[in-house]
Subunit: 155 residues, 2 copies
DNA sequence: ATGCTGTGTATATGCTATATATACACTTAA
DNA sequence: TTAAGTGTATATATAGCATATACACAGCAT
């Protein structure tokens, strides 16, 4: 399968990557990383409602994972009403996809901040210290201390 | 084993719980929940350096998990230099345990905030909206929208 | 010393989610 | 009709989580 991918790439070598590369070592499962990546593309408008998503095989080849892993990710996105699948045709961004994807991210942001504040308080940080931390991270978004998440199957 | 536990409790029914109850349904693995719980007790000063932690069996009975799960949690805490174990004697908070536990929580708070800001931005939120969200959650810490985490083994 | 009772330790086993390869079914257009 | 694209379904391997059971060490009462 990978050989086929390489062959195809030789014919279209400069196509823009649809999603950032994923890795078993990165936080979160592979399919979860795909879910997050697609949500990012949709939330930021690079995939508009009605637009076709990459096919299972195309995305699997690009991300070097199996077709099934992509399928699983798309199933999750369909469950959230962000995309819909049509057998024989493809997968597309649903009409409310952009709104739902952004809302999901807003909710997650709130959830993460709530947990962060709880952790900070348990560490003995004052309200002022917590706000200072937020401001510091707001100014330097590049220092991406990627959160490790919980629950591990990091093979 | 659980029968024994119930029997013992009948003799000492009002002993304060060492840790809050944990659950397979809660976010994070059981052993991770124990790690977090112990870190909270240490960070907030209820377990001072040198103080003995509950024994494997005592904690296992209280939390209704197996001895091995507690062992695993304590191993993780020892790896972080927060506690140390002495065979035949027990497990104790290390001298630098409080500082390390708090530092771990501060680091996690920073990591979570960084991820939250990233998510919020991807959702299209402005800097002002993000700050407003932080302030709202700072005022209402009770509305604990517990973050679901990543990676799943929720049996 | 001896044995009892507490502590932590080690080995082997069942379960579940993740990720996979392979084969199948549907849609469109040549 | 057939070819080439799409999504779908089944069976399998792996690794982490959680467990029961049996073992080894420390302190203390006898």
């Amino acid at each position: 399968m990978y050989m086929l991918y390489i062959h195809l790439m030789a014919h279209a070598p400069h196509k823009r990557l649809i999603l950032r590369p994923i890795s078993p070592a990165a936080p979160g499962t592979l399919y979860q990383q795909i879910v997050d990546g697609v949500k990012r593309e949709i939330s930021e408008g690079r995939l508009a409602p009605g637009a076709p998503l990459p096919s299972f095989r195309a995305l699997a080849e690009e991300l070097l994972v199996s077709l099934i892993t992509v399928k699983r990710a798309y199933e999750e996105l369909e469950r959230e009403g962000i995309i819909y699948r049509k057998q024989g045709l493809g997968t597309f961004v649903s009409e409310e996809g952009t709104a739902r994807s952004r809302e999901a991210k807003r909710a997650q942001a709130a959830s993460l901040i709530a947990e962060a504040l709880r952790e900070g308080r348990e560490a003995g940080m004052t309200e002022e210290e917590l706000l200072k931390l937020v401001h510091r991270l707001l100014d330097q978004p590049a220092t991406s201390t990627k959160h490790a998440g919980r629950r591990g199957n990091p093979f």
